[in-house]
């Protein structure tokens, strides 16, 4: 019984995480400009990758038993994917705007390009 529950939870987390990354990739095809592409990457890094790490950790722990070091590494990985990739997205979005990439005219608020109202 426990075996089946673990299998289902791991399956949902792993396939859900992979599907989130795939949906981000599909959304990137439809995004109108570079800043929107930076924006649609966030679900992949903030939701998909933590789900994958969680699935891998659950399956590993079920097979090999609970290990404090491994649990700490998995926790660091989850936090890193959420926090670090958000900072990276912010920096890249700012750089995309500064480098003069074409911007959707409906973007608002827009203080960086200097024509804010």
């Amino acid at each position: 019984m426990t075996h089946m529950i673990v299998q289902v939870v791991v399956g949902v987390l792993a396939i859900g995480g992979g599907a989130t990354v795939l949906v981000s990739s599909l959304a990137m095809l439809r995004a109108p400009d570079a800043v929107s592409r930076v924006n649609v990457l966030s679900p992949a890094t903030g939701l998909g990758m933590p789900c994958l790490v969680l699935a891998v950790w659950l399956e590993w722990t079920y097979e090999n038993g609970l290990d404090g070091t491994v649990a700490a590494k998995a926790l660091v990985a989850v936090l890193a994917f959420i926090v670090v990739s958000s900072v990276a997205s912010n920096t890249l979005g700012r750089a995309a705007l500064r480098s003069g990439a074409a911007l959707d005219p409906r973007t608002a608020p827009n203080d960086l390009t200097g024509n804010a109202d």
Partner: protein, 86 residues
């Protein structure tokens, strides 16, 4: 469990291939930098789930270091995009 692993690998591979197609069709360099990020995370995900299949001992080291240092490539590309200005 094997089925779950291969379905996830398939999903991530399709995501990475779609990213590669977009590298060709992207209108500007900033978009290509973002797509590089996407492919990086796909690669980390494929490694994680395959390492589970083949009983690797470095699964969580790769996850933690990949998450923490993935920012370096992005920051470097940002600086290149703005020609060194902040």
């Amino acid at each position: 469990m094997t089925v779950v692993i291969w379905i996830t690998v398939l999903l991530l591979t399709v995501a990475a291939l779609l990213g590669l197609v977009q590298v060709m069709t992207a209108p500007d360099d900033a978009s290509r930098a973002v797509i590089g990020d996407l492919i990086y995370f796909c690669a980390v995900g494929i490694f994680l789930i395959l390492a589970l299949r083949y009983d690797s001992v470095v699964i969580f080291d790769v996850a933690a270091i990949g998450g923490l240092l993935g920012i370096l490539a992005t920051i470097a590309l940002s600086r290149i995009l703005t020609r060194g200005r902040r």
